[in-house]
């Protein structure tokens, strides 16, 4: 008893020391990464807000404008057109990747020969550099040489003349959406497949004994199991697709989604960095708004 009492303060001290040392150790390991992220991601984001209030001049004093930049943008019809383009682009690419990803995941969940090879091939669009695949897509839809016009015009006589689907303003968004789906569905597929493989096979066997149809098996067993994962993937994809620049801009400059609009405003022609910062800020606010609504409605948090 006396020995215990004697030891207690000592071990407490030791424990305190250990805890302190642990904290110190943990922080010292993470600190470099935290400093880098704070200095080069978080600080710039706040700086972007600051910039949006100025007429930004590189190498000269910035001129304070107040809400002038924001006002200019909100009253500009080109901006709202770009918002609409973004909404259309994000909605269709996100839904498209979800549907295609789910279908492919369901197919790949079956056993068949060479499944490993096929799985590797499916991921190719996702890992290949955007710059290297856009030219191939442009060639496919090229009015003179492309395979698409060869089939649609020469064989099926769908159009009155050959034209460039990617360059013409009405159809370019369709191709951009298709390209977005093609490029990104492997991500959705991969996530869903991992979840599908974790579903208990016994559930399906029981359903088969009860005489369930394939559709019923999907609707009553598979779908509830993947609902929340699918919901989260759709959210992630919507955020990422909303921020997409390369996949749209490199394929066609006609589809002015918000990042492309910002880029064109800020870095081409008469460079207006202050306006660009203001668009980026408004774009970010719109995104946050969307996320909050989505999380409440679909994920029911």
């Amino acid at each position: 008893m006396t020995i215990n009492q004697l030891q207690a303060p000592g071990s407490l001290l030791q424990k305190m020391n250990l805890e302190k040392r642990e904290t110190l150790f943990g922080w010292s390991l993470i600190l470099p990464a935290v400093i880098i992220i704070a200095a080069l991601i978080l600080y710039p984001i706040f700086y972007n807000v600051y910039l949006s209030f100025f007429d930004v001049k590189i190498m000269q004093e910035n001129i304070y404008l107040g809400f002038q930049n924001h006002e200019n943008i909100i009253t500009d019809s080109a901006f709202w057109k770009s918002v609409l383009t973004s909404v259309i682009y994000v909605f269709f690419t996100t839904m498209g990747t979800a549907v295609v990803g789910l279908l492919v995941a369901l197919v790949m969940n079956q056993e068949f020969p060479l499944r490993g090879v096929v799985r590797g091939l499916i991921l190719l669009p996702y890992v290949a550099p955007v710059i290297s695949v856009v030219f191939s897509w442009q060639f496919i839809f090229d009015p003179v040489n492309g395979l698409f016009m060869h089939i649609a015009y020469d064989k099926l006589h769908l159009f009155a003349e050959r034209f460039n689907l990617i360059r013409s303003p009405q159809t370019s968004i369709i191709i951009a959406v298709l390209f977005g789906i093609w490029k990104n569905f492997p991500f959705t597929y991969l996530m869903l497949l991992a979840r599908l493989q974790a579903i208990d096979r016994g559930l399906y066997e029981a359903a088969e004994i009860d005489g369930c149809s394939s559709w019923n098996k999907f609707w009553y067993i598979t779908f509830p199991e993947i609902y929340f994962l699918l919901g989260s993937i759709i959210l992630l994809r919507a955020i990422w697709n909303f921020n997409k620049f390369e996949e749209v801009y490199l394929l066609t400059e006609n589809v002015k989604v918000l990042p492309v609009y910002t880029y064109i405003k800020a870095f081409t022609g008469i460079m207006d960095i202050g306006q660009g910062a203001a668009i980026a800020l408004i774009q970010f606010i719109l995104l946050i708004g969307f996320i909050l609504i989505y999380v409440k409605r679909v994920l029911k948090w």
Binding site: E22, F25, G26, W27, L29, I30, P32, A33, I36, I37, I41, P44, N48, L51, V56, I58, M59, V107, Q110, F112, V118, R119, G120, L121, L123, L124, P125, V127, A128, P129, I131, S132, V133, S136, F139, I140, D142, V144, L147, H150, W182, F187, M191, L193, A194, L236, F242, N243, F245, E246, Y249, L250, L258, P259, T262, A277, A280, L281, F284, L287
Partner: protein
């Protein structure tokens, strides 16, 4: 009846699988096919070239380009005229060998390679320590940091581009070519750091703590266990994360297009390819060959880590 239905099923199923494979690989097949075709063959919808043309690859890889542009008559003239000195002949030949027309594929390739591998390496090194701290060390504020790293997922690159460009140009970082290169390198490192932290952190959690405990008993220090136990055990995950970061940097276009505007000798492959496409028309074979050659390293790297990557992405979460 049952058997016939299953045969029918099998055929439909095989067709669906073939359709999926075709959908995924067709643009790549088209790329390869066009890169090997002569110009007169481009309009031919068949994917197999009537005659194989590897001029585009030769030109990009700079094989046998020295004499290409010199007209036959000049060559003949030079050979026959004995009174010209060697220097004079060389000067005449140089006029025809204009190098301005050649796409500097190797330089762009090298720039991309250095940028992508260095930024990925630094990112992974910082991430190993950070991720160890996330997954193994208990302290106050850990959760907050972890969540903030996740929050970075939401920021699009365009939101970072404007402030980073303004900052680095106002403090004079991008007025020299070395400074520009280092700035871009740092940016790529930052862009890949959150995903490295997250993926590695999740992997480290799967390593049993008892291994480390026994190392402690043997007298190993905390840092010693990272070096002797964590790193060797998670080498495959570290390589995967490295390659993933490498691919992000290799594919990046947005930041490079803005930062490298005044230093075209630093151009990365995406920028170079884009310029080649915009500046000249109807050179599909060269464009496709260049696309092929810039996709190849990524595809090869991907094939080597395919299984690991699939696991790392689904278990560790992922960022583009």
């Amino acid at each position: 009846m049952v058997k016939r239905r299953s045969v029918f099923h099998k055929i439909i199923f095989t067709l669906i699988v073939l359709l999926i494979v075709l959908f995924c690989t067709f643009p790549f097949i088209q790329m390869l096919s066009t890169s090997l075709k002569y110009q007169w063959d481009w309009g031919n919808p068949s994917l197999i070239p009537k005659r194989i043309n590897i001029d585009a690859y030769k030109e990009l890889l700079n094989i046998g380009q020295a004499e290409k542009n010199v007209p036959e008559s000049i060559k003949l003239l030079l050979e026959e005229s004995k009174e010209l000195t060697r220097e004079q002949k060389k000067a005449i030949l140089d006029k025809y060998r204009s190098t301005a027309d050649i796409f500097p594929f190797f330089r762009y390739f090298r720039n991309s390679l250095i940028l992508a591998s260095t930024s990925a390496l630094i990112s992974v090194i910082f991430a190993i320590f950070g991720a160890y701290s996330f997954s193994r060390v208990r302290y106050k504020g850990r959760g907050t940091i972890q969540r903030s790293v996740l929050l970075v997922y939401m920021f699009g690159p365009i939101l970072l581009l404007i402030p980073l460009y303004t900052i680095s140009s106002s403090i004079g970082l991008i007025s020299t070519s070395v400074g520009t290169f280092l700035t871009l390198l740092t940016i790529y490192m930052v862009l890949t750091l959150p995903v490295s932290l997250y993926m590695l952190g999740n992997y480290f959690r799967t390593i049993p703590f008892s291994l480390e405990e026994s190392a402690f008993i043997e007298g190993c220090s905390r840092l010693g266990t990272i070096w002797r136990i964590i790193i060797p055990l998670s080498m495959s995950a570290i390589v995967t994360v490295f390659i993933y970061c490498f691919m992000i940097a290799w594919n990046e276009y947005l930041f490079a297009s803005v930062f490298l505007k005044s230093f075209s000798e630093l151009n990365t492959l995406p920028i170079g390819l884009r310029e080649l496409f915009v500046s000249k028309n109807a050179i599909w074979d060269r464009i496709m060959a260049a696309s092929m050659l810039s996709a190849l390293p990524v595809i090869i790297l991907f094939m080597t880590i395919q299984k690991q990557l699939a696991k790392g992405m689904t278990e560790g979460g992922v960022k583009e």
